[in-house]
Subunit: 457 residues, 2 copies
C-alpha cells in the first residue's frame, strides 16, 4: 500500500512518527485470501479445524473449528460465532451495521435531509472495531501524538486521558478551564488553539458531550459558538484541527434544552479542515461494560478527493493504518460481544434496541432530575454544581474546602462515598457524584448528608 | 507507588522510557475501594445500576447493572458475569486459577518436587489478564523497548513480531538463523547476545516452543545447550537477559522425544538474572481464538528480595506497571470469555479440560505424523522440512526456487494454498503449511501435489 491519497490530505502530516510508520502488510492475508478463492486444498489457515464427528462424540460431519465440547453449555451461539477470530478490523456485518447505527444517531430525516444523510454515509470510513472506547482513544492518540506533542482538552475531563497522553505516550495535555460563566469556555478553547498553533503544525483536541465528569451538554446556541470558534481559529491558523470526539455517553441526554446528538455530526458537515474522529462503543451505549467493543470512524472532507475512486482508496488507506495498529496491539476484538450486538440488531432491530434502552434512560433521567433538584435546595456559597444535562455524573465544585479533605470527612462521619478531584494546577477542586449508581429513593438522603457535612466546615 | 523494590532489581533498568513512566494512579480506585467498605450510600461507581424490577418487566428486587433485557437470550451466564467491567488486571478468581494452571503445566510432581513447585508459586507475579497473546507481546515489548532498541529473535518467527517491534514501536530485531545442523542454533543466539551487549545495557529475547512457523521444539539435550549458552552469556556480559516466552502453542507437543513443557519453567529455576516473562492465553491453548484473553506472568529471582514483604511489594509494583499499561490501552479484558474459562475450570476441572483437549491434540498429532511421513517420501534436493515436533505448522525450505513463485505456481496449477515466506536478507525462503486446518485424509494428496509442483521446476 502506497498511501498515495492520504498523503495529499491534512491527515497525513498530522500523523505521529508511529502513525506514519504503521501499516498492515498484506503477505499472509494476500495468500490466504487467494487460497480461499483458488485452492482445492488449503494449508493456509492458522486456526485448527476438523470434522466435528472426529473430535466430538455424536458430532456432525461438518468442518468446524476444533473446540472444547463444554463451551457449548454456556451460550446459545453456535461455535462459529464465538470460537474463530473475527477479522482484524472487526466482523464485516457488524461494521456495516454500525454505519447504519451512526446514520440513525445523526437524527437526520430520511425525507427532508437525504442529502446530508448521503454525505454522511459517503464521507466516513467504515468503522473499525476496537477493544472498547479506551482502546479507540489510545489508538487514535498513538496515531496522532509524538512524545512531546500537545493535545488540547478542557480541564474537566476523564482522568484516563492524562494516563494515556502523558504517562503512556509521553505527550502533553494543553488544558483550559471547561466553564466560563456556566457555559462551555469557548474563548479558553480558542486561546489554547492559538497557543498550540505557535509550536505545532497540527491541532489535536479531545472533546465529547455528555462530558465526564460534569454531565455538561451544550445547547444549540452554545454549540454554534463552539463551531464558530473552531471555524474562526482554523481560518486564522491555517492548520488542520483534528477532533477526537469521545462519544462514550452519547445517548444519555435528559434535557430537551440541549443538543440531542454527538457534535461529530456538526463537525463533519464543516467544509474546513476541522476533522472529527468518532470514538464510540457498546460500553455505555448498549450497557455492556465488560464487552470491550468500540469503534473508530473518521470523518472525511469531500474536497480531499477528486472522484469516488480516490475516496475508496483513501478509506482503504486509513483502514490499513488502523488495521496495522489493531494487528500489533490486540490482533482483533473479541468475537462473542460482536456476535451479540449483531444478533440484538437482527432480532429486535435498532429501533427495538433504542426502545428497550428507553427504560434505562428514563430511570437515569429521574435520578438526574432528583439530584439536581436536591442540590438546588442547598443554599451554601461553598458549593456550585456544574451545568449538566446528561451522562452518568454531576460535578460539585467546592470553594474554600479541600475536596480530598471533604470526601474523607463525608465518608467517615456520614458514610457517603464520592470521588474527590483536586488538581490545583488545573483549577479543579470538587467531587464527582456517580448518580448512575444511586437509587433515586436514596438521593435526598445522599444530598442531605453532603449538606450536613458542608456545614461542618 | 514509589517502585522502591523494582528499582533495586535488574528489571527496572531494562524498562523503556514508557515502562519507567507508566503507572496506575490510585485516586479513583482508592476512593471507590474505601467507599465499598465504609459507605452506606455510594456515589462512586461509574457504571449504571438499578433494581431489576425498575427497568425489566417481571424483574427481581435486586440491585444489578442496568442492561438490555434481550442480551439474556444469548447466554446462560447471569448478567453479572457478562455486563460489568472486570477488574483492570482481570477477574481475581481467574488470575488465581491461572496460577494453578501454570503450576499444572509445569508438570512438577507434588510429592517429589514440592520444593520446585513452591518456588515457582512464590516467585511469579499473579498473571494479569490481557486482550489475547498478541496484546501481551505488545505490552511487554512496549514496557521494555525504546525506539531504536534491539530485541533478539531467531529468523523463523511469527511475522507479527516484526510488525510490533519495528513498525509499531520503531525498535529493531536482531535476527539469527534458527537452525544450525537441524538443531536450534545456540551459537547464533549467543553471538547475537554478545553483539547486542556491546550497544545495549539489557538483552531482550523473544522465543517460544512449539515455534511458529517451524513447529520446532528442543529435546532435553538441546534445551540444556540453550540454557547453558544463556548462562554463559549472562556471566560473560554481566547484564540482565530478559526472555519473553511466547507460549501461544504450549500444549501442542506430539513427539515423546522433545521437552513437554514451556522453557519458562527451566529459565525460572536459574539463579542468574535470566528473567523469563511468560506470555500465554486461551487463544490456542483452550481453542478460543475469538476470546482475546491472554496472560502475562513475570518470573522473579529470589536473590532480588530480602524477605517476603519485599517480595509482596515487588509483585505489587510490577502489577501496578502492567495495570497502568492495561488501563491506558484497553481498560480491561472482556468479561464473557473470562467467565467462560472460570466456569470450564469449575465445572469439569483443569484435568477435565486437559482430557477433553486430548481429542483435539490427538487429531492434530495424526496430521503431524502423516504430513511428516509424506514429506519424507519425497526425494528432492530442492526441499527440506525443518525439524518439528508440535504446534500448528511445518516449514518447508526451498532451494533454488523462489518461494513466492512456487506458491503462486502451486496455487494456479495444482489448486493448493500455502503461505510463502521469502526474506532474502534474513536467509528465509520456503513455505509454511498449516496442517492444523488440513484433514488428515487429504494430506497425501496435498503433499503429492507439492511434489508434482516441485518437479515443474
Amino acid at each position: 500500500m502506497e498511501f498515495e491519497i492520504i498523503k495529499k490530505t491534512p491527515l497525513y502530516n498530522a500523523l505521529s512518527e508511529q502513525g506514519k510508520r504503521i501499516y498492515l502488510p498484506q503477505g499472509v492475508f494476500h495468500w490466504s485470501g487467494r487460497a480461499k478463492k483458488e485452492a482445492e486444498i488449503m494449508g493456509t489457515l492458522g486456526s485448527a479445524f476438523g470434522f466435528e464427528e472426529d473430535f466430538i462424540e455424536g458430532g456432525a460431519p461438518e468442518w468446524v473449528p476444533l473446540y472444547l465440547e463444554d463451551i457449548k453449555n454456556y451460550t446459545k451461539f453456535n461455535v462459529n460465532e464465538i470460537v474463530p477470530y473475527s477479522k482484524i478490523s472487526g466482523l464485516e456485518d457488524l461494521r456495516k451495521s454500525w454505519i447504519k447505527w451512526l446514520l440513525k444517531k445523526s437524527i437526520y430525516k430520511i425525507d427532508s435531509e437525504q442529502e446530508k444523510l448521503n454525505k454522511l454515509e459517503n464521507f466516513i470510513t467504515t468503522p473499525v472495531v476496537t477493544a472498547g472506547v479506551t482502546n479507540g482513544i489510545f489508538l487514535c492518540c498513538s496515531l496522532l501524538l509524538n512524545p512531546g506533542d500537545f493535545i488540547i482538552s478542557p480541564n474537566k475531563r476523564w482522568g484516563n486521558y492524562d494516563n494515556i497522553v502523558e504517562k503512556l505516550i509521553g505527550a502533553k495535555i494543553k488544558s483550559f478551564d471547561f466553564f466560563s460563566d456556566k457555559k462551555f469556555n469557548v474563548n479558553g478553547m480558542k486561546n489554547a488553539i492559538y497557543e498550540i498553533s505557535k509550536v505545532q503544525e497540527k491541532i489535536i483536541i479531545i472533546l465529547g458531550f455528555p462530558n465526564n465528569p460534569t454531565g455538561y451538554i451544550p445547547n444549540q446556541e452554545e454549540l454554534e459558538e463552539i463551531i464558530d470558534a473552531l471555524k474562526e481559529a482554523q481560518k486564522t491558523i491555517s492548520k488542520p484541527i483534528i477532533i477526537l470526539v469521545d462519544d462514550a455517553y452519547e445517548p444519555y441526554v435528559y434535557s430537551k434544552e440541549v443538543i440531542n446528538r454527538s457534535i461529530f455530526y456538526e463537525l463533519h458537515e464543516l467544509e474546513e479542515d476541522i476533522i472529527p474522529i468518532k470514538l464510540d462503543g457498546i460500553t455505555k451505549e448498549l450497557l455492556l461494560y465488560g464487552g470491550r467493543i468500540g469503534f473508530i470512524t473518521f470523518g472525511l472532507k469531500p474536497h480531499w478527493v477528486k472522484n469516488s475512486q480516490e475516496l475508496t482508496t483513501l478509506k482503504a488507506e486509513i483502514d490499513n493504518k488502523l488495521s496495522g495498529m489493531l494487528r500489533t496491539t490486540i490482533s482483533n476484538a473479541n468475537h462473542f460481544y460482536q456476535s451479540l450486538i449483531l444478533k440484538l440488531f437482527d432480532d429486535i432491530g435498532m429501533d427495538g434496541v433504542i426502545e428497550k434502552r428507553e427504560k434505562v434512560i428514563h430511570l437515569l433521567k429521574e435520578r438526574y432530575e432528583k439530584i439536581n433538584a436536591e442540590f438546588r435546595k442547598i443554599k451554601n456559597e461553598n458549593i456550585s454544581v456544574d451545568s449538566n444535562a446528561g451522562g452518568f455524573f454531576i460535578f460539585v465544585n467546592l470553594n474554600n474546602i479541600s475536596a480530598n479533605h471533604f470526601a474523607d470527612h463525608l465518608l467517615k462521619k456520614y458514610k457517603v462515598g464520592v470521588i474527590p478531584i483536586e488538581k490545583q494546577h488545573d483549577n479543579i477542586n470538587g467531587i464527582r457524584i456517580a448518580y448512575c449508581s444511586i437509587d433515586v429513593r436514596k438521593i435526598p438522603e445522599f444530598v442531605s448528608r453532603i449538606d450536613q457535612a458542608l456545614r461542618d466546615f
